[in-house]
Amino acid sequence: MIQAQPTIKPKKLDAATIITIAIIGVVYLLAFVLEQVMPATSMLFTVLKKGATYALVAVSMNLLNGFTGLFSLGQAGFMLIGSYAFAILTIPVAQRLSVYQYYDGGLVQFSLPWLVAIVLAGLFAALFAFLIGLPVLRLKSDYLAIATLGFAEIIRAIFQWDKIGTLTNGSNLLRLFPTFADFNVRDESGQVLVYWSTFVPFVIAGVCIAFILMLINSSYGRAFKAIRDDETAAEAMGINLAKHKMIAFCTSSFFAGVGGAMLAMYANSVQAKSFTTAMTYEILLIVVIGGIGSVTGSVMSAFLFVASSEWWLRFLDQEQMIGAWKVPLLRNGFRLVVFSLIIMAVVLFFRQGIMGSRELPDLFRKRHKLAGKGARKA
């Protein structure tokens, strides 16, 4: 195991770090203020909430794929576990009869506070990751990808099995658990006094991403990067491969589980069949667009991706008229075609993505190491 450097000087905050902290502060402030002043139905908040969720999941995937070099495609499976764990644990006891209407109110007859449930959601996902990781992490790159993909499919099938319906509600929806909207403070008449429904997901995602960042910058993180760059050399340097891979895998899954819980809170309902392979692919593509190996990139591209798919590029799915001229090609599904082409362009021509492997503070530092072809956006 790599030990931390013996003499770590207390880091002085340089200008770049201060600018970064300021930017993050402004973003959070905006997220809070805008929600108070703008109509709650604005698409902006849908994008921000879902964006925060996807940002977390993308960063958690980046931890594996970008920083540890483990090409895992099981993200949707771990999100599913997180979503279900959260929903099952938080549905109020009084509502259980109506949710589990085919299963006599279900097996679980208690409900936990949302914060506890979110942590448990992550822990369940991490536990599954540990169990699946024992055999699977011994596999090399593409075999690992297929095995984790297969695992996600198995999970999806099992959660819909009606024999365990008292727990999972079979293939029916889980609903009526706390959602982001429940964070808004209301008075007796139901009028909202303070909106928190966007700020809270930002905080959850922010705390989790900060944790991942700290992990990446710790001695564990350096070991992860060593494994990514050269497994054999890392092993020769005394890094315990099995242990570090397992730590990365479980941590990533923990946060994917938390992300799953957030997705449940965003969507107001959970159903196993929505956690498809396509979802994993989407997250992978977010990571790729952002830059494999950049946390900032994943976050930025998560918001860009969600904003484009839910909001900005929606017009591509409807027929548009410019004056009397009907724009050709536009109809249902065109948005996704445009999307795919953008993604292929990124994969083929801008392999570095938006950020390459740089982080936000790097943008404000002198460009001494940036003479790469990927350094196109600052």
């Binding site: 699977v136 499919e153 099938a157």
Partner: protein
């Protein structure tokens, strides 16, 4: 007892043959490029969609089938040129991501063209006919598939073992760099591999969709993954291995689908257990078990890792 099992066994053999035709594409590409061609299942689906549209345009069957096969082979060729060739010297992960991107693109294109609706596959006169075996009624395609699969596989094995291009393929899959030094035109070999793989996926799609009768943009994903598992099971890089693996998976999967009925008829179980849910999961469980117990598969060669 046998009468209960027979229909599942028959459809298992038939589906197995169809998986085999897809699996060959995976195993050949993996053998040469060390790439899981995630888009291969979607090429298979595109072949199905092409058939729907071409036969809807009124072209007679004896022309439309070859046309579908040729275009499908062309699609495979185009994918290789556009998405994989520029990344030849890039890290493995980049090519894999590119493959996933192609898969996503093909699915979305088909979604756009079809509007996301199930397309009804045209019925092909001879192979959609019903036949009766014992007490079981099935379609002609069930019987034709294994025969056709075997014929094609034998032809392919002959091609690989006894022609110049086949020899080149074997050389490239053995050692990419050295075979290039020996004057083999790598790009030609890769092109031929993709064309053959896509062509066979096209044949597979005709047989498969005749059985299932509808095509949608996601119909390629599952058969694709299962065929890949079959390829791994048989030992990736080995054509006969992929075929054997595909038949085993097809049969097991269909027996599991019918397990409830079989158990009840045999008196071993009183009620439906819902084992059907696991017919897809089984394939992946099998994959994980093989990768752990015997990563080289049934007929695979052991690879040594060079530092």
């Amino acid at each position: 007892m046998f009468d209960t099992v027979l229909p599942y066994l028959l459809s298992g053999i038939s589906v197995g043959g169809q998986y085999a035709l897809i699996a060959i594409g995976y195993t050949m590409v993996y053998g040469i490029l060390r790439l899981i061609n995630f888009a291969h299942g979607d090429v298979f689906m595109v072949a199905g969609i092409l058939m729907v549209y071409i036969s809807a345009s009124g072209i007679p069957l004896y022309l439309s089938i070859p046309l579908v096969l040729i275009i499908t082979a062309g699609v495979g060729f185009a994918i290789e040129r556009v998405a994989y060739k520029p990344l030849r010297s890039a890290p493995r992960m980049s090519i894999m991501i590119s493959a996933i991107g192609v898969s996503y693109t093909l699915q979305n294109l088909v979604l756009y063209v079809t509007g996301g609706l199930n397309q009804f596959y045209p019925s092909i006169p001879f192979i959609s006919q019903s036949v009766t075996i014992g007490a079981t009624s099935t379609r002609m395609v069930t019987l034709i598939t294994p025969v056709l699969t075997l014929v094609l596989v034998i032809a392919l094995v002959l091609l690989i073992n006894h022609t110049k291009i086949g020899m080149a393929m074997r050389a490239v899959s053995k050692d990419f760099e050295t075979s290039r030094l020996m004057g083999i035109k790598i790009d030609n070999v890769i092109t031929v591999t993709f064309v053959i793989g896509s062509f066979l996926a096209g044949v597979g799609s005709i047989l498969y969709f005749t059985n299932y009768s509808t095509v949608i943009q996601t119909s390629g994903a599952m058969p694709g993954l299962k065929a890949f598992v079959a390829a791994v099971f048989g030992g990736i890089g080995s054509v006969p291995g992929a075929v054997v693996g595909a038949f085993i998976i097809g049969i097991c999967e269909n027996l599991l689908k019918g397990m409830d009925t079989i158990l009840i008829k045999a008196g071993l179980s009183k009620s439906m257990l819902g084992i059907t849910t696991f017919s897809d999961a089984f394939t992946f469980a099998l994959l994980i078990v093989i990768l752990i117990v015997k990563p080289t598969g049934l007929f695979g060669e052991k690879q040594t890792e060079k530092v």
